[in-house]
């Protein structure tokens, strides 16, 4: 990827995409509700959530492929609820690429320009430039069925790029690629965004993908945005129990307990162990809470608890070790390959500052 389409400098004071209390229902089924998002010019934002959480519907509403039932959608400060997709000046890359099977690569990329009645010579020039930047020049005459998955994905991206739109929308564009290609394409899209600076809204259910590619992530659950923040905020300071458990691999361990004060500090007894909570959680004695500990925060050799190794899972750069004790189980991540064996007894420690505390009733982080 070498050449860069020319773009005018956007007005950075106005959000590129703004959703105000957007809702969507299909009949009696409410898919999205009260979705509020303000995406800055040039930002790369990901809508992250499981299947059926409303993320693709939200993307489709921004694209103009679905009408919203309630609320307002603004692009560069202009309300666009009633505008068609083409009037919104957005480009979209679809999950299944949605390449036109009867058209060659060149015709696929140039189709949008043809629909805009761009002169043939200009179409050819722009298609050639985009194809060169995406390393597709040698396959311009082929049909989509004659391309590999990665090439098809590049054609889909080329089709979006050739228009030089104000906004890029990506609907799970890598979900049909194998793991290695997915990582490669992810890097290419991120580099592309860094070069072009076009505002991008990306949908995925893959939290690792979202973390690696985004400036900010909106974690969605049951049609609502649970948290909107940078990858670091989402990971280190999840707003809710749901966000904490959705982000991170291996998953955060969540354990229920009742707060007790020992030696003037808030603690939660878990079996024979006692987990000290961070002071700033502001919990009160007798309060029912859930405590969350991420694997990288469980240190072997500490003094919080004594446990038995149940499972050792080497994954290359690290080893995930599952520990059992009478208060539950914990996963710890150790660097490299571990020599631990199932059945061994170890001690583990957890720094109170690394413990996340959630209200058991509301699920909100305390």
């Amino acid at each position: 990827m070498t050449s860069v389409p020319h773009r005018a400098e956007p007005n950075r004071s106005v959000p590129a995409i703004e959703l105000r209390r957007v809702a969507k229902s299909f009949g009696t089924v409410q898919v999205c509700r009260d979705v509020d998002l303000a995406i800055r010019q040039g930002e790369f934002v990901t809508l992250l959530g499981p299947s059926g959480c409303g993320k693709t519907t939200t993307l489709n509403m921004v694209a103009g492929l679905e009408d919203c039932t309630d609320g307002d959608i603004l692009l560069a400060g202009r309300r666009v609820n009633e505008l068609s997709p083409v009037e919104r000046d957005v480009a979209m890359v679809f999950q299944n690429y949605a390449l036109y099977p009867h058209m060659t690569v060149a015709e696929n990329i140039g189709f949008t320009l043809r629909m805009r009645r761009v002169p043939r010579a200009e179409i050819e020039a722009r298609v050639a430039a985009i194809a060169a930047s995406l390393e597709l020049s040698h396959v311009l005459g082929r049909l989509p069925a004659q391309l590999s998955g990665g090439q098809q994905q590049r054609v889909a991206i080329g089709r979006a790029l050739v228009r030089e739109p104000r906004i890029f929308l990506f609907d799970e564009p890598f979900s049909n690629l194998d793991a290695a290609l997915r990582v490669k394409m992810r890097a290419e899209v991120k580099q592309l965004h860094q070069r072009l600076g076009v505002t991008s809204l990306f949908v995925t259910h893959d939290q690792e993908e979202a973390m690696s590619i985004s400036d900010r992530i909106a974690v969605m659950n049951r049609g609502r945005v649970e948290q909107f923040g940078t990858p670091e905020e989402i990971y280190a300071r999840p707003a809710t129990r749901y966000v904490a458990s959705f982000i991170g691999s291996p998953q955060i361990e969540l354990m229920s307990g009742v707060v007790e004060v020992r030696d003037g500090r808030p603690t939660v007894p878990l079996g024979s162990a006692r987990l000290t909570l961070p002071e700033e959680a502001g919990v009160r004695p007798g309060q029912r809470v859930e405590v969350g500990v991420r694997p990288e925060h469980v240190r072997l050799g500490g003094e919080s608890l004594s446990a038995t190794v149940r499972l050792v899972q080497p994954v290359g750069p690290a080893t995930h070790v599952v520990l059992d004790w009478d208060g539950g189980s914990l996963t710890t991540t150790l660097p490299g390959f571990s020599r631990l064996r199932p059945g061994e007894t170890v001690t583990a420690g957890i720094d109170p500052r690394d413990v996340l505390v959630f209200d058991q009733e509301t699920g909100l982080r305390l």
Partner: protein, 282 residues
């Protein structure tokens, strides 16, 4: 029977499959073989009991006579071509957009409308023959090739709509969304995207409509007199009041099915793919 079952079944199952297929081939091919044989036999050999199939009775006379009196058959074939091509072309031109609208656009009660379209085909022909004859004769349109074409169109259109709707229902929604993002409205999406990828079902529907119109006898009989007579009527005319010239009738029939057979062979792949797509995705 699934392919896996067939592959893993024993020799008995395989034998039964071959026997069944052979029976089906004989069942389907026997009338055609008999048609060819009778067109090549002399009348006396043909009406003998049992028919005398010895080689000395084979003759091309039937074909020579039929082609010699070519005026009637030639006009019949021309009329049939006009009627079949007209009703097929118009059925596709009207049926494809109608099917697309019923399959993909937000038409209220599309399923009910599609069913009503099909329901028009459930009336027995005789129930509409008399009113149709009265209307057409009062309009002075009896014995007109285009009249027959329009009547056939009314039969072909619902079938075309149903075949194509089944296919259109299976088109991935992503293609239409991509076209919308690319700046194509409904009509341009239909023209530039949907139609080109629908060539197999369009071909299947076209062949189906053409054959229906080509072979139709009943309405051709009551709505034509002389100049608009189609092939089936010309063939039937070989059955006279006092004598039925079977050999010539069969020779004429054989000549008349040639276009249909050629059509079926040329478009074989489209027909199979078209119907298979419609069935799987519908």
């Amino acid at each position: 029977m699934s392919y896996a079952l067939y592959r893993h079944g024993g020799p008995g199952l395989r034998l039964a499959t071959y026997a069944g297929l052979a029976l089906f081939v004989v069942w389907s091919a026997a009338p055609v073989v008999w048609l060819v044989l009778s067109s090549l036999l002399q009348q006396k050999a043909l009406i003998a009991r049992p028919p005398d199939l010895s080689p000395q009775n084979l003759t091309l006379d039937n074909f020579i006579i039929v082609v010699g009196s070519a005026a009637a058959l030639g006009r019949g074939i021309l009329n049939s071509l006009v009627v079949a091509l007209f009703s097929t072309a118009v059925a596709l031109a009207l049926g494809a957009p109608a099917a697309y609208a019923l399959a993909r656009l937000s038409v209220p009660r599309a399923d009910a409308i599609a069913f009503l379209v099909l329901a028009t085909q459930m009336l027995p022909s005789i129930a509409i023959a008399i009113p149709l004859f009265l209307v057409i004769s009062r309009l002075g349109l009896i014995d007109n090739v285009l009249t027959l074409g329009v009547v056939y169109l009314s039969f072909n259109l619902p079938i075309v709509i149903w075949i194509l709707r089944g296919f259109f229902l299976g088109i991935p929604a992503g293609l239409e969304k991509a076209a919308a993002i690319d700046g194509a409205g409904v009509l341009r999406t239909f023209w530039h995207i949907v139609l080109p990828i629908s060539i197999p079902p369009l071909g299947a529907a076209a062949v189906f409509a053409f054959v229906e119109a080509w072979n139709e006898f009943f309405f051709a009989l009551i709505l034509t007199r002389q100049s608009a007579q189609t092939v089936p009527l010309v063939i039937a005319a070989f059955a006279g009041q006092y004598q039925t010239v079977f050999g010539q009738m069969m020779a004429a029939a054989l000549i008349s099915v040639v276009p249909v057979i050629v059509l079926a062979i040329v478009f074989r792949d489209w027909i199979v793919r078209g119907f298979a797509d419609g069935m799987m995705k519908g």
